[in-house]
Symmetry: D2
Amino acid sequence: MKLQGIIPPVITPLKDRDVLDVDGLERLIEHMLVGGVHGLFALGSTGEAPSLSYAVRREMITRVCKQAKGKVPVVVGVTDTSITESLNLSKHAADCGADAIVAAPPFYFPSDPPELLEYYQHLNSDSPLPLILYNMPGLTKVNMTLDTVKALMDEPNIVGIKDSSCNMMYYQKLLKLAVGREDWFTLIGPEELLCESVMQGGNGGVNGGANLAPKLYVQTYEAVMNQQLDKALAIQKKILQLGDALYGVGKHVSSCVKGIKCTLSVMGICDDYMADPLHRFRNPERQVIKQRIRELVDADVIDLSQFPQHAMG
Amino acid sequence: MKLQGIIPPVITPLKDRDVLDVDGLERLIEHMLVGGVHGLFALGSTGEAPSLSYAVRREMITRVCKQAKGKVPVVVGVTDTSITESLNLSKHAADCGADAIVAAPPFYFPSDPPELLEYYQHLNSDSPLPLILYNMPGLTKVNMTLDTVKALMDEPNIVGIKDSSCNMMYYQKLLKLAVGREDWFTLIGPEELLCESVMQGGNGGVNGGANLAPKLYVQTYEAVMNQQLDKALAIQKKILQLGDALYGVGKHVSSCVKGIKCTLSVMGICDDYMADPLHRFRNPERQVIKQRIRELVDADVIDLSQFPQHAMG
Amino acid sequence: MKLQGIIPPVITPLKDRDVLDVDGLERLIEHMLVGGVHGLFALGSTGEAPSLSYAVRREMITRVCKQAKGKVPVVVGVTDTSITESLNLSKHAADCGADAIVAAPPFYFPSDPPELLEYYQHLNSDSPLPLILYNMPGLTKVNMTLDTVKALMDEPNIVGIKDSSCNMMYYQKLLKLAVGREDWFTLIGPEELLCESVMQGGNGGVNGGANLAPKLYVQTYEAVMNQQLDKALAIQKKILQLGDALYGVGKHVSSCVKGIKCTLSVMGICDDYMADPLHRFRNPERQVIKQRIRELVDADVIDLSQFPQHAMG
Amino acid sequence: MKLQGIIPPVITPLKDRDVLDVDGLERLIEHMLVGGVHGLFALGSTGEAPSLSYAVRREMITRVCKQAKGKVPVVVGVTDTSITESLNLSKHAADCGADAIVAAPPFYFPSDPPELLEYYQHLNSDSPLPLILYNMPGLTKVNMTLDTVKALMDEPNIVGIKDSSCNMMYYQKLLKLAVGREDWFTLIGPEELLCESVMQGGNGGVNGGANLAPKLYVQTYEAVMNQQLDKALAIQKKILQLGDALYGVGKHVSSCVKGIKCTLSVMGICDDYMADPLHRFRNPERQVIKQRIRELVDADVIDLSQFPQHAMG
């Protein structure tokens, strides 16, 4: 399995703190599959994984795997401060037929590079599934050094990396490291960097906005792969426009997830309940989101026909 | 319950990643009770709580409560990124007879002050036990503002705070806030600040070193309470000496926990296995710790007679 | 010269961006001398030194030295990113009869410990005056490690340190380092920590509030030196009250300097013009400061009789 | 003047702490002009400006302007903590015929967005030359918000921005802001990002490596402008290779400047003395640099024929 293309980090639709919105999840996955995504990443940061109980995490894995199996690869986030719990999730994911696990560094005690290397070696040797590294220093506060990644590339069962560092100097060096391993893949997190990362040889994006407008991201990826640079840059501008409109309504680092979840609710896809400590947008922000969606529809960034008929109702 | 005095954050003795060192834990608790501690705090950062599986966390709660019940109050750390899992632990702690829970802010998604306030209100309203706040910005990367603490003081079931910010300006302002609530307590984390915090009106310390040399900390606390300032400062110097000797062997933020755990192992109290991503000291560091213990014994900082006969063997 | 007691970091009164308020400066120095301060520190952070032209810095040195000479020691801040300019200031300070220079690490390029050590050795060997180290990581973003301080203690012409790290664990270790050098002094920056630092053996404070209410700080220092702990803690509470009232009006790190400067203006001591990029309080904040001064007068924190008759007019 | 293309941040060759290497500077400028650079930026971070005395800074301005005048535009860094000194430099630059000044935010007191806006308005209104903004949060610790840049675009005399944030999400938003102002330019600092920034519509690079291998950077820029994407990416890889080889020898943030200066010395262009607090590479690092230069020559990254005959001697 060499993962490439657009692999959205799936939002976790909730009805309550500990209750999955099952119908919403089904609609959401269908929406993305119809949009042409190349894989699904359940239980990432965008999926609020660390805020969910293990019961909900397991249910999420079961349902995503069941619906997407045989259609696109499914990878599952097992990031945790406890390696035992990560491995428990990994076993469940294997049982459900997932294709790989994704793990960011443990994020309570900062681990130094030798400890982090050993951590990943332990996780990998005890996990039944291939492992994808996940560099997310903004939330884990741990920097995955290039030397650590290089050392981990020696393990055949560690198969790729998702980089959400927002640091394109680091990203280019990741690409350079990967030259010797044909089956390795290097995915980018922030959607604003999708176009330039793929231009430079990156393998695709794990972009939150692909929950909303999967085709936009798929088209950007494909345009670059087809060497249509101008077309790619033009679509990339729409992605930037979507983010400016929907991710800047709240005031904090979580504005992005909140904006996506609120938009999905407005569009009739799923509930926008969020697990503590985050909180969905209250009515004033929701009204702003509604107005901005209308503007994005007018600007041909969002295609209304891809959503349920009652959207925006 | 107004918690005061020395309440050590109990080390979690492990035989393996997911196996408690049951005999070691029993010896450790006995060692601290004999040393005169005023309470026990299970599953804090020093107890490596975030690295442990929930099964081990529950067993730890059960055993500490059983052994200490009726002797000193037991408080239990439930810090987690998932409020549902925190509440699950809280219920188990209540079933075991614990006296309160301790919770630092969720530490994956940074919560802004209104979100953090709401988080604690939710946690408190659904928890069967009184709640102690835990300010630990170095590891959670969330600052608990004075306004948040002030607002939470309106909830009678929230009963105190442990401050590990290392910021004595903040700590003094916490003491000032508490003036109106007689039953509130303000404990200090870093042992180097025990003496000065109690001098200023603080209620005691949750100090890692009290796993090793409980009497030293108890005597410091009591000297200040008895207005014996010179005596208190003299013992405080020994505490500083102990820390300089034992916490500076490793190179990283976790050196302190590693030093304590290694020393407890050398002294015959319990195993020093550590859960990923941390790793116990290998032999070279262990030899340094042994040498330093000898020096601390010679300097009357550590009292050998308080340890099992085979200690240092 | 062993500096001890209260050495206020003198505010730099300005009439315009590049014009000293000469009369105001004279009144300010007189106010502090009458208040019993033990020395004066010109051109620190509170004195906005980095924002001033070298012409104004030289004039400030000349005037402070002239007025205070023979009464109390004068030390002069020469912190700069260019060692050549620091040495130019140092020579001018020597010509004016200053007693020592004070230097924080250069603050544009972060220097690693060996570079910082060498920097201070160079500065010291070429400076005509004794050198006082200044640890101010909040503004310089450079941590002065204990090893660096220890190595610099070998230079007889380096005579002490002012610590504004707000980290009392570090401060205690500074005191421990100084045990072998009788003539060394360890001063504290943040006034909230004055009492506890002196209790532990510190030599005094470089506290901004001593521009306003010098007696308050002098009395705290003397109470601790006379072993009157309860009295010291009581006055320390007034210092905390003064800071809460006057330093929290603005919204940023510079609120403290702005509050002091505005209060001095309201009290008829000197102009409150500030050099770019800071800006004095506009009228709404000035009205708040006026109200708070009245409350501090009522609470016996500020003694009106120490100010010019037209104060608050 | 719309600055575009490659505008190297000129290294400041020194013979001693306060003595310019005049011959070396002349050779260096000639080397870059022959290499086809489109402008010169004197006294940036790479030029160690904050570490230099004002006398040396003025001499540097005089000499660079004299040699380059009429050939390429010259812009001059006036970044300082004192606006008066920045304006003094600006007047000198105007007298010497420079084309614009470049200013990062003052970097001792952190300014909040309204203060920073006002600061730039003051600097601009009193400066005789057009002003280029310089975003360099890694060293100034001040974030220049997009709102601040947007507001400053209303001043016709503020003409562009150099962005060294390493944040391509921010950079893309800068490009979007500039849509309404035809004469505005947006330059990138880090050379690793040159190719992708120009692809997206950026106007060029202020890249340290262009002191060494100006043609490499000029060719990358021109390839992108000529829509030769594959060629551009191929040369960009050489730029990455150059940086990996020469900037990673030292251990700290200043490794990049040290590597450039050492290489220029090895290549016979100029002296590699550095102003405190930085220090040129000692012999062991210099030998490593020599070896790496040889490898870069073998790999066709560095073209020996562009250097003096005695290079590497």
